[in-house]
């Protein structure tokens, strides 16, 4: 069984790597078909396009695209993502910097989402069809239908503008570099509260409805009826039998969420001026910063694969029967 599992896992990884290569190759060529010049910022009335052409040549952008591609593959194999045209820094440094911010807010929100969703869904199961159940379900539907920037604006209005509890932008205070370690943690928490809440509220609204439905569906399964007929206490049925079964579909959703961590933060980072992957992606696309865009596409691809893999492993943990099918 174990051997079979590992073999499946390796096959899955090989397919994933091939898929990323295919994706990145496609993006590499497609992005160059887009109109727009990555060195346009260097056009000047006095120098015309002369300086821009020189900078283009420094980045190897004057070479035919297939040569650029072979060079890029060669560099990637040695771990070099190249230099950003806009930020004039190594792409790997830029991405590591941005990834730290994005992972901080998105993983915190993911953990909060799990902490809130599971108990709340169980609570709603216990009080199904009550007024509170209906209210929370409808509220979740409304929040889910609203775009995340609306949630962000509402939180900024109440949390920052009206009450002045939290700052409406940035990751740190301007004197962050002068604070001690404890103060730094507090400052960071203080700054990420609103963006994390934005992400959490949006994701809880979705996952809660999903898990609630799954719990209700599982509750109607014949095995639950059998357990009840055998006089097993309701709490034990709920926590030990209904929840693990209902969680399988929720874990699938979580896996997808891990995969989309980078794209989910795109709007939130822009609104709260957080220097994460989302903001980097938006700026790079607008500025046609090819090396950064391709590296980010690659990272996103890897995240999706890791997310799905984690989800599959968790499902396998909860239900070994379906392990061989899912991996």
């Amino acid at each position: 069984m174990k051997k079979f599992f590992i073999k499946k896992l390796i096959t899955r990884l090989v397919y994933s790597i091939l898929m990323i290569l295919f994706l990145v190759t496609g993006i590499f060529f497609l992005i160059r078909l887009l109109p727009g010049d990555p060195v346009q910022a260097y056009y000047s009335p006095q120098l015309g396009k002369e300086l821009a052409e020189k900078i283009k040549s420094e980045h190897g952008l004057d070479k035919p695209v297939y040569i650029q591609f072979t060079l890029w593959i060669k560099n990637i194999l040695s771990g070099d993502f190249g230099y950003s045209i806009v930020y004039k820094k190594k792409v790997s440094y830029l991405i590591i910097d941005a990834l730290r911010v994005t992972l901080l807010i998105s993983l915190t929100s993911l953990i909060l989402q799990i902490i809130i969703t599971i108990p709340l869904a169980l609570f709603l199961l216990k009080h199904k069809n009550s007024l509170i159940d209906i209210l929370i379900d409808k509220l979740a539907l409304i929040v889910y239908s609203a775009p995340s920037f609306i949630i962000a604006v509402i939180l900024i209005y109440f949390g920052s503008y009206l009450t002045k509890f939290f700052p409406s932008s940035q990751l740190y205070s301007h004197d962050f570099y002068q604070l001690n370690s404890i103060e730094k943690i507090i400052d960071l928490l203080y700054h990420i509260t609103l963006p994390v809440l934005t992400l959490t509220i949006t994701s809880v609204s979705f996952s809660l409805r999903y898990l609630r439905e799954s719990l209700l569906k599982t509750e109607k399964e014949p095995f639950v009826l059998a357990l009840r007929a055998n006089g097993i206490p309701e709490n034990i049925i709920r926590y030990r039998h209904i929840l693990p079964n209902a969680l399988i579909s929720y874990i699938t959703i979580l896996g997808m969420e891990i995969g989309s961590l980078l794209s989910k933060t795109l709007v939130t980072e822009s609104i709260f001026s957080l220097p994460g992957i989302g903001w980097l992606m938006v700026n790079s696309i607008f500025a046609r910063d090819y090396p950064v865009i391709i590296a980010l596409v690659m990272i996103s691809g890897v995240m999706v694969i890791i997310g799905n893999l984690i989800a599959d492993l968790l499902i396998a943990r909860f239900n070994p029967q379906i392990a061989s099918e899912s991996i």
Binding site: Q40, Y43, Q170, F176, Y190
Partner: protein, 558 residues
Amino acid sequence: MRNKHFLLIVISGLLLLSCKEKDEKFSTPSEKEKSIIIAVRSDIDFFNPLHSNDINSGLINDLIFGALTYAEFDNINGELIYLPYLASKWEISNDNRHITFILNTKLKWSDGKKFTAEDVQYSFLLYTHPDVMSVRQDIEKYFLKQRNGQVDYKRSFQIINDSTIRFNFASKVDNPLFVTGLPILPKHLFDTIPFNKIFFSNINFKPIGIGPYVLENYVPRQQTVLRKNDSTKFDKIPFIEKIIFKVIPDYNSRINQLKNGEIHLMTDIRPDDARQLEEKYRNIKVEKISGRDYDYIGWNNIDIDSYHQKRMIAPHPLFGSKRVRQALTLAINRAELLESYFGRYATPAENPISPIFKIVEHTSFYQYEYDPARAKELLALEGWKDTDNDKILDKNVMPFKFKLSIASGKPHREFSATMIKNYLNKIGIDVEIETLEPAVFFSKMFERKLDAWIAGWTVPLDLDLTPFWSSDLDKNPFNVVGFRNFEIDQIFTELKRVKSPSDKKTLIQKFIQILQDEQPVTFLYWIDNIVGFNKKIKNIKLNPIGFTNRIWEWYITE
């Protein structure tokens, strides 16, 4: 279970602590630390004036580095004036071919090294050397050359002694102080880096200068903190200890933070918000900088297909005729357009010489006044009539129909485009508004692939308009409308030769008259830069050179 409770207590405690912090964070740091927070839209590109290519980055670099002279715009006389800065005095030769600077050698770089004439010489070598790829490389045209065509830096930037340097120009230079007014860099740091490696070097983010401020902290895409520089013996010692440039890309976040007191100053405020700030926010002062930025409607003067497919220059089928362009200008009620969006925050534009320059007289009204009837007459004279009664003018079966392109993200251009479409519809012209992503828009504009568009230019301080209006389209990519007029080319050549202000004025008047007659573009308005700042900051002297003008004189009151 105990662990769970402990975790909950820790999380709640940290959150409470972070909320408690608010009093300290939101009490304006200006009171406590004598610092101010300025919001900027984008991060600094380089802490190095060799490569810095963005307006706000230029202003930040000017605070860190210093130039030989301090340039300021004299609003009364409408010209640049120069004050002693790193140089204590200077002398310009009678033939305007040499300028000698006496340097203030008491000054030190912020790392403690002495400032000498060698720093000046090396800085100008860097600016002019092609391998450095400086954005200011164009100044090399003024200096003496070697046989290989590169600047002969030892002769051009001649060191007389440690505190004296003389610039020798290849020929008469109109304004030697303007040419030599670039920030000075420390030789002892730059001479260790090969010229072609400076662009990617770490030195671009570790600046050492002699200006009123030094870099204290830089967090990419978050903030730049400048601290008062009291180590260089510079006489311009600022009152304000720290200036924090906070990067906030979203306009709405910036304006809300200004209202909220999270930031103390922001520029480029939209007119609607400016009016609201003036009416409702008593702690905020709104001022405007009459600027050098104008918007225009570009009419492509040349036929796009002939230009791109056959490399031939033929008149554009719609806008190739001067009378048609005149008619289009007459058909647009620019005064109403200006009033509706900008109110008092813009002035009519009729030519590319900003009203801040007093070299020509400016009127506060449009000379091509709104006259749709006359516009129709002119179009009829060109053969544009509605022969098929579809309410759209046509000529040889071709309807007068075109796309008016704009770049996304500029609300005033979106507003103007809609108004212009309506005005032109009234005289039988069918306009479709096309909103393009900025990178696509500018790429198409520079390739001269757009029919008509709304965009803007900033007029250079030396008023050299050759790149925008010269007929050689290959050499001048900024002549995006493809306008060609050989009389104007002659005027530009003459302008470089004549010296007397009255001769210059005559030539510029002539240039303006030709543009007025030809209407290669329809000039729309000069846009003021609206600046909002907390009233606690005193002595702000906004200047067309930049809002940070004389920042060392700013101070904060309780």
